[in-house]
């Protein structure tokens, strides 16, 4: 790791999309022979930075220097030519071809009679051996090996062009512990050969285990670059999340006072609720009229747990009972029937129906509950729509506009109206304040407090921990697909408390991976 000559130097990089500055004057550098972790929450600009580096997106400003010469990437081919190879999160290989064919696709060894398969397979075997994968037969079909090993083959494929820089975008998300170890062994081997590796992962433990240097992005800006050995978890997490203390201190006290009043009767109790690959078996108790926070970093299992509670995904383990009665939440229809509504974190893909009007979007869930044969009359629709457009001050105040033409904050308010119109007893809000302006954030937080006072149980999920601390009576902390703690909120609980829980748990997790700790303070 010589500090003298970075192999990649990106200076003052800006990338803009219509209405959004995805990257804002970002500086990023990588040195040969290091594993460089890129960290940040959703929307921080990680993918955009990677795509700028690999030539997928053109940059609007700034310079990219690779190995001393300035480059202008017009496509992925240009980046590859500069020696930057990429392995994406989803394995992008052809399962019906052999391992060797996949590896050498486009780089087959040719003889006078076209492709010389014997030589091609030999070259593939050599490639695999370089990565310590001698055990793989290049003649076997790719589909015959596990997804984890396929990921390793994908890396071998990227190495065929002999790159200076290898970009690994969440390579570990579908791997088990052993496969992660193999992957890390390969990464160390490549690093020692002088390759610079860009590593993106949501698993903090992995980042600390493998990386030499960390760059943190937040809201399209670089907030820090550190040597991993000089960095502690708490600093990293607070850099990723940021602190946003200007908002609504009073709301916190309101919800806290409320917490004292309500009885501890449970609306929903889940025991051992889990789903393989997304959330380990978890116990959750949601008291009636309470605001419960799910805190944790992206990919910690907070959304996955919420999706089990609302029937969006089917649990494969555990039981759920509502008001003491055991129920099966096997679909959103079933959950809505039990008066559980879920507002997704992914507004565009799973929330709004873009080409329908605001009115249609608001009444949709109510109408779905009634079935298509019993349409809401226009007067009933207007009544519902009017109520929520006024309550949340949705602008522009025209219910006949297509929802896709509204701002993010107003879209979120429309969706909130859609779910409230179903008269839920449990409302799960997943990142309701993401990507919306400060004013709308405040309005949505206010709505949550009002709901709780009206007896609606609310689950509040947010990356912005101070929101969680301000609004929630109890906070369930998740990490690496596990519930690691449940904190009862009180005056001495701050965002730092949660950050510490997440960070500390990681350190002793390797020693004792089971048994979630119960941290209680109040």
């Amino acid at each position: 790791m010589s500090e003298a000559a970075p192999v990649v130097e990106m200076t003052d990089i800006s990338v803009e999309f219509p209405g959004v500055k995805a990257l804002d004057d970002v500086h990023f550098r990588m040195f040969p022979g290091e594993v460089h972790a890129l960290m940040g929450e959703n929307g921080a600009g990680k993918s955009t930075l990677i795509k700028a580096l690999t030539g997928v997106y053109p940059i609007d400003a700034g310079t990219i220097v690779v190995a001393g010469s300035e480059r202008r990437f017009r496509g992925t081919a240009d980046a590859e030519e500069a020696g930057i190879a990429t392995v994406y999160q989803e394995v992008s290989l052809c399962p019906n071809l052999t391992i060797g064919e996949n590896l050498m696709l486009g780089h087959e060894v040719r003889g006078p009679l076209g492709i010389n398969w014997r030589a091609t397979n030999a070259a593939a075997a050599e490639m695999l051996a370089k990565l310590g994968l001698e055990g793989l037969d290049p003649r076997k079909p790719l589909a015959s090996i596990s997804l984890g090993v396929q990921q390793l083959v994908a890396i071998a494929r990227a190495m065929v062009i002999d790159p200076r820089v290898l970009v690994l975008d969440e390579p570990t998300s579908s791997l088990d512990a052993n496969e992660v170890e193999t992957l890390f062994a390969i990464m160390r081997r490549l690093r020692d050969q002088g390759v610079a590796i860009l590593f993106v992962s949501h698993f903090l433990g992995q980042v600390f285990a493998i990386s030499d240097r960390v760059t943190v992005l937040r809201n399209g800006r670089r907030v820090g670059e550190h040597l991993t050995r000089e960095l502690d978890r708490a600093t990293l997490i607070s850099e990723m999340i940021g602190k946003d203390l200007e908002l609504l201190e009073s709301l916190g006290s309101a919800s806290m006072e409320h917490a004292e009043e309500h009885p501890a009767e449970a609306f929903l109790v889940a025991t051992g609720l889990g789903r393989k690959g997304s959330i380990d078996p978890t116990d959750v108790e949601l008291p009636r009229g309470a605001v419960i926070g799910f805190a944790g970093l992206l990919g910690s299992g907070r959304t996955e747990l919420a999706r089990l509670l609302c029937g969006a995904d089917k649990a494969d383990a555990g039981r759920v009972s509502i008001k003491g009665e055991e129920v099966a939440l096997s679909s959103p229809v079933a959950a809505l029937g039990r008066r559980i509504a879920y507002s997704t974190e992914n507004r565009r893909d799973e929330g709004t129906i873009g080409d329908l009007t605001v009115r249609e979007n608001i009444i949709l869930a109510v109408q779905a509950k009634r079935g298509w044969l019993r349409p809401l009359s226009r007067a009933e629709q207007d009544q519902i729509v009017d109520k929520y457009m006024k309550a949340f001050d949705i602008r522009p105040a025209d219910p006949e506009l297509l929802i896709k033409n509204l701002s993010g904050g107003n879209q979120q308010k429309v969706l909130l109206g859609r779910w409230l119109a179903t008269d839920p007893e449990l409302l799960i809000l997943d990142e309701p304040t993401r990507g919306i302006d400060v004013g709308a954030k405040a309005e949505i937080q206010e709505a949550v407090v009002d709901l709780a006072q009206g007896g609606v149980t609310t689950v509040f999920i947010s990356s912005e921990l101070d929101e969680v601390v301000r609004l929630c009576e109890r906070i369930i902390v998740l990490r690496d697909h596990q519930k690691i703690a449940e904190i009862t909120n009180g005056p001495e609980v701050t965002t730092q408390t949660i950050i510490d829980v997440i960070a500390d748990h990681g350190t002793d997790r390797d020693a004792d991976p089971s048994a979630p700790t119960e941290a209680t303070s109040s």
């Binding site: 809505l336 893909d349 799973e350 129906i353 949709l364 779905a368 009634r370 298509w372 044969l373 349409p375």
Partner: protein, 368 residues
């Protein structure tokens, strides 16, 4: 026909709706025929029986089967699917009714005709339900599912008639395609009623909203609690029963089912009609009115081709040219390109006539 003289803003708003281009195309084709024969559009009363006759009525009569399947396809396409089986469902419907009437061998009484209709529609609905179940529950791609039904349907029709082109005689059944009520052809009246009923069902219940919702964003619709499976089966069943009606129209006019040609390749005309009407094959927003215009355009086109005496070998090419032109005119990209070119030209030459247009375009840009 291009309407260059009319107020630009009104025209522009209208041109945003694709079905307007279909109407323009129909008018253009009729005008073309009119230029060959000034009496082309005349509708006269047959003094013998008081029935209306004329080329326009012939076009409507010929359009009736296509109207049925275009409306059905419109709904299926709006869900993001496609129904390739409508032509085959037509022949099944035709085959079962003809075969029943042949066996009944009763040329005058209405009851065998009613039974034949009921049988045909029941079987068509069943085929639609099969499509729906395969798509909704088994999760097969609509294209593959209905491709299979397309092949199987024609096979089923051949089994029903033992491979024969069955002919039957039954006057009440024949009346469907050849009868008149208050001067109008029965088949046109039935088609109009069915289209009207469908339009009401779709827009007065929440069916249309939910179809569009699924077609625009299936996952968001699922999370909103829409029962997609039931809805998909309903939509494919509607497409099936409408194709059955189309089959009845097709065979009752000649009282023969041609197992290899009845309904053959009509699925393509149906899809074209839907697309001409402004419904995207990607699903989502749909327009039944648009599908009707599309079906009428295709029927007009067929009639025009015959009237102009285009050699039968050149007919498909002629049709293709007209439809490609229409699709180009409807395409946003082409329209954007043309208007940019015009703006550039206008700026370059500063032709006074263009100024109104320019101001208008700038206004639109600012508004959007």
């Amino acid at each position: 026909m291009s309407g260059r003289g009319s107020p630009q803003s009104l025209l522009r708003r209208a041109l945003g709706r694709q079905l307007v281009w279909g109407i323009v195309a129909i008018a253009a084709l009729l005008a073309l025929s009119l230029s060959r024969d000034p009496g082309y559009l005349a509708i006269s009363v047959n003094p013998a029986n008081g029935n209306l006759v004329g080329n326009l009525l012939d076009i409507l009569r010929a359009a009736a089967p296509l109207l049925m399947i275009a409306v059905g396809s419109c709904l299926v396409i709006a869900t993001g699917g496609i129904d390739l089986s409508v032509g085959s469902v037509m022949v099944v419907s035709g085959a079962v009714s003809m075969e029943f009437l042949r066996i009944a061998a009763d040329s005058t009484s209405p009851s065998p005709a009613l039974t034949a209709v009921a049988l045909a529609l029941a079987l068509s609905t069943a085929l639609g339900v099969v499509n729906g179940v395969l798509v909704a529950f088994v999760g097969l791609q609509p294209f593959i599912t209905t491709l299979v039904t397309l092949l199987a349907g024609r096979g089923l029709a051949k089994v029903i008639t033992s491979g024969q082109n069955t002919t039957a005689i039954n006057d009440p059944f024949r009346w469907i395609a050849n009868g008149y009520v208050v001067g109008f052809p029965v088949v046109v009246l039935i088609a109009a009623i069915v289209v009207a009923v469908m339009a009401v069902v779709v827009r007065r219940t929440a069916l249309g909203l939910m179809i569009e919702s699924i077609g625009i964003n299936a996952e968001a619709s699922r999370l909103a609690g829409i029962r997609q499976r039931g809805l998909l089966i309903t939509v494919y069943a509607i497409s099936g029963v409408l194709a059955g009606v189309a089959g009845l129209f097709a065979v009752s006019s000649v009282m023969t089912v041609d197992v290899s040609r009845t309904g053959a390749q009509l699925e393509m005309d149906a899809i074209l009609a839907v697309v001409i009407g402004g419904t995207s094959l990607a699903g989502g927003k749909f327009s039944i009115g648009g599908a009707v215009v599309g079906a009428l355009l295709i029927a007009t086109l067929d009639k025009t081709v015959v009237f102009l005496g285009v050699p039968s070998s050149a007919t498909p090419a002629f049709k293709a040219v007209v439809i490609i032109i229409l699709c180009l005119v409807q395409s946003d990209r082409i329209r954007g390109y043309v208007s940019t070119r015009r703006r550039v030209a206008a700026r370059g030459r500063a032709v006074p006539v263009r100024l109104g247009l320019m101001a208008d375009e700038t206004k639109r840009e600012r508004a959007s």
